[in-house]
Amino acid sequence: MSEAKQWNRRELIGGIALLAAAIGVPAAVVSLSALSPDDAPTDRQRAIITAASQHVIPRTATPGAADVGVGDFVILALAHGLDGTRAPSGAAGMPQVARFQRPDGSLRFLDWLEDALDARGRSDWLARTPAEQSAALARLDAEAFAQGADKHPWRAIKALILTGYYTSQAGGSRELRYVLDPGRYDGDVPLAPHTPAFSSDWSAVDFG
């Protein structure tokens, strides 16, 4: 099998990704136009996931999640089912979740998120102040991480936000440290408080 054949197989991204790489635009941003209608979010959903990502990882001395296009990464990731998000959902049994289920049992996460945030904001979540948005999202996060809620849909969305951020150049190499070629291994180095972790510690990424 030739390399060329493999790359051609990427139906959704293919040449778009190569073009994106060539002109320096994150691949996830431009590939949204290639999503199937079923996977394409509404403008409002796109605005919601973008804003929600920035509330999870806000701008500090380093960029926030929305600043680096994480909302669009989550859309792309959900369309392709990364992290098992196209598998039949264990949360589907929750009454407030069941109506966002596809016939195959997987969830329409963005539809669910839109509804969940509006419900917790008691109106149009996007129209609230940033502080109110954040408070509503914090309530949702607290529910999702409560005892016994490990199938909560927010966990999957939050996980993709984190993946999108810490695998971006800013998240991976400015917020955290990225050293592709350490050149040596030292098994015992003093650790000062508040030392950033390595995004390039692959074992830690897998098992940490």
């Binding site: 790489a21 999870v56 914090a138 991480f145 810490y166 291994y185 030392t195 692959w202 074992s203």
Partner: protein, 564 residues
């Protein structure tokens, strides 16, 4: 008879195929090495080697939708990522069957270099506890060799490929010709000390790995840079692969002919001379069938594919498969039963961290059922591989919170934790077997391999004991055990599938003799994992390489003496 075109045809270019080609060409023979997959050139074709996650369309995680459709098995492999997917087979294009009730994940790499590009590089000698295991407990058939037969070949292989490790003087895991060991980290060093103090006979040591800690300028190979992205391909040549090591050596002789994109379908057998005469293959570049002749055939297609080729090479004289007069061909296949025996938080090292990505873990070699039979419900061994590490950003997925404080917390190096993965010896059973599927074929009309496999009570008992003892040891070392498992993953999980063309004393009950040579066919050698008669509980690749070098030497001697 026409003069054969080659002295030897080597089928496969992976870990053992490369060794066969090197040894045979260096002995003066003209060798044709045939690889079913595409050509991958050292350095030049390692396309993702220096890429960052943000350079990849799916940030290194890969396109899960594509994987569900075309790589559903390979995607289960921890080393399969968006960076490495080009080094694994497309499952949809390379189907195999499983028997009812069998769940077997067959991880494969069809390409020049085979799985030598993606292997875990752990390199261990087997001991007489392993070669004597079948004789001692009666499972399987007795190995016709012992450690002393293989020791000089282990020396040769280790010196050439470069294995870093620490000598420990253990009878169950003999020391080798090691390059300097990689370092234990601060937590592993502590656990080593606790074991030494409280558990006589148990040792935690650094993994012995085919990653160089000193360069090998004669092979153009540099020392490891502690990137731990080996499976992408390493332009430093710091880990052993066909590309970095054996292929250049074989090419240097001027006696190697290499063909890629060629799926060998059949080995030709001449009943008049009782010899194999060559092989036939399907050329995937032009969809034609081709053949070549040779005086000797070495099978190095990978454990299961070597079985497949023998089973598929039927003839009137050999209706049940080539060299299968015993009827045991395809039976007694094995894979290590493995599972995460224990994971623990390791408090007390908050002021310490590590630098660099070490491409090996720490191990605790077997300590049960050696001179005293102290296994509970099993007669063989288990060992642990694992190590201590600190978490990074992925832990954020498990933690509640949003906003600036959360971001600040997730920025920090996470707490130390330690994992021990148990590897249990797999008992050879006649019911675990490979056959040609009677119905299903691949795209080229070749019958699919059908895998029937299940672990038994011995493996379950070993992993139960491993779980209990891993937890006990980590607790003794101050760890807080979070969880552990005692059930193995599906067969194939350890990627140590082996057996099927087992070695043995008796032609009536085994396929190969002590020289990895078919009992029935003097000029046919099978020197990959198919030849294994037992599994041990340590990684097998080094043993495959030593057996290959030994068989190549034997074949050359026999050829010179006119015996084959």
């Amino acid at each position: 008879m026409n003069t054969p075109e080659f002295d030897v045809i080597v089928v496969g270019s992976g870990i053992t195929g490369g060794w066969a080609a090197k040894e045979l060409t260096e002995a003066g023979l003209r060798v044709l090495m045939i690889e079913r997959g595409r050509k991958i050139e050292h350095q030049v074709d390692y396309e993702t080697e220096t890429k960052a996650p943000w350079d990849m369309p799916f940030r290194g995680l890969g396109d899960a939708e594509l994987y569900r459709e075309e790589y559903p098995v390979q995607a289960l492999n921890r080393h399969f990522t968006e960076f490495t997917q080009g080094h694994f087979v497309n499952d949809a294009e390379n189907p195999y069957a499983t028997a009812p009730g069998s769940d077997f994940t067959w991880f494969r790499s069809y390409q020049l270099g085979g799985r030598s590009l993606t292997w875990g590089r752990q390199s261990y000698r087997w001991s007489d506890y392993d070669f004597g295991a079948n004789k001692r407990d009666g499972h399987g058939t007795d190995w016709p060799i012992r450690y002393a037969d293989l020791a000089p070949w282990y020396d040769k292989v280790e010196e050439f490929i470069g294995v870093s490790g620490a000598a420990e003087g253990l009878k169950q895991l003999p020391d080798g010709k090691f390059q300097p060991p990689m370092a234990l980290n601060v937590v592993e060093q502590h656990v080593r000390g606790v074991l030494a103090e409280r558990y006589p006979g148990r040792v935690l040591t650094i993994g012995r790995t085919a990653n160089l800690t000193e360069p090998k300028p004669d092979q153009g190979r540099g020392a490891c840079h502690s990137r731990s992205i080996c499976a992408r391909g390493c332009s430093y040549g710091a880990y052993f692969s066909t590309q970095s090591s054996t292929l250049p050596a074989a090419k240097k002789t001027g006696r190697l002919t290499l063909i890629t994109d060629a799926i060998v379908e059949k080995i030709d057998y001449d009943p008049a001379t009782k010899r194999v005469t060559g092989v036939r293959w399907f050329d995937t570049t032009d969809n034609t069938r081709k053949q070549a002749t040779a005086r000797i055939v070495f099978l190095n297609a990978g454990s299961f594919n070597s079985n497949h080729l023998l089973l598929n090479s039927t003839s009137e004289a050999m209706p049940h498969g080539l060299a299968n007069g015993s009827g045991v061909l395809g039976t007694h296949i094995m894979d290590h039963a493995n599972t995460l025996s224990a994971a623990a938080m390791m408090p007390g090292f908050e002021g310490h961290t590590s630098f660099g990505n070490r491409p090996t873990g720490a191990i605790i070699p077997r300590y049960r059922n050696m001179d005293v039979m102290d296994g509970i419900g099993h007669t063989r061994g288990f060992s642990f591989q694992g190590g201590a590490l600190q978490s990074t950003w992925t832990r954020a997925k498990r933690e509640a919170g949003i906003g600036e404080d959360y971001k600040a917390r997730m920025r920090e190096v996470g707490p130390w934790r330690m994992v021990l993965v148990g590897f249990a010896d797999c008992v050879p059973r006649v019911t675990n077997r490979l056959t040609l599927d009677p119905v299903k074929t691949d795209a080229h009309g070749i019958p699919q391999l059908n895998v029937a496999f299940a672990f038994g009570k011995e493996e379950m008992a070993a992993l139960a004991q491993a779980k209990a003892e891993a937890s006990e040891m980590l607790t003794a070392a101050g760890g807080q055990v979070m969880f552990g498992f005692d059930r193995p993953g599906p067969g194939g999980t350890a990627i140590h599938e082996m057996g099927g063309a087992r070695m043995g004393w008796d032609p009536a009950t085994s396929v190969l003799n002590r020289w990895s040579q078919a009992h029935q066919i003097a000029n046919l050698f099978v020197t990959d994992g198919a030849q294994m008669s037992s599994s041990a509980c340590q990684n097998p690749s080094l043993t495959y390489m030593a057996l290959t070098a030994r068989a190549a030497d034997a074949a050359v001697t026999m050829l010179k003496e006119g015996k084959i």
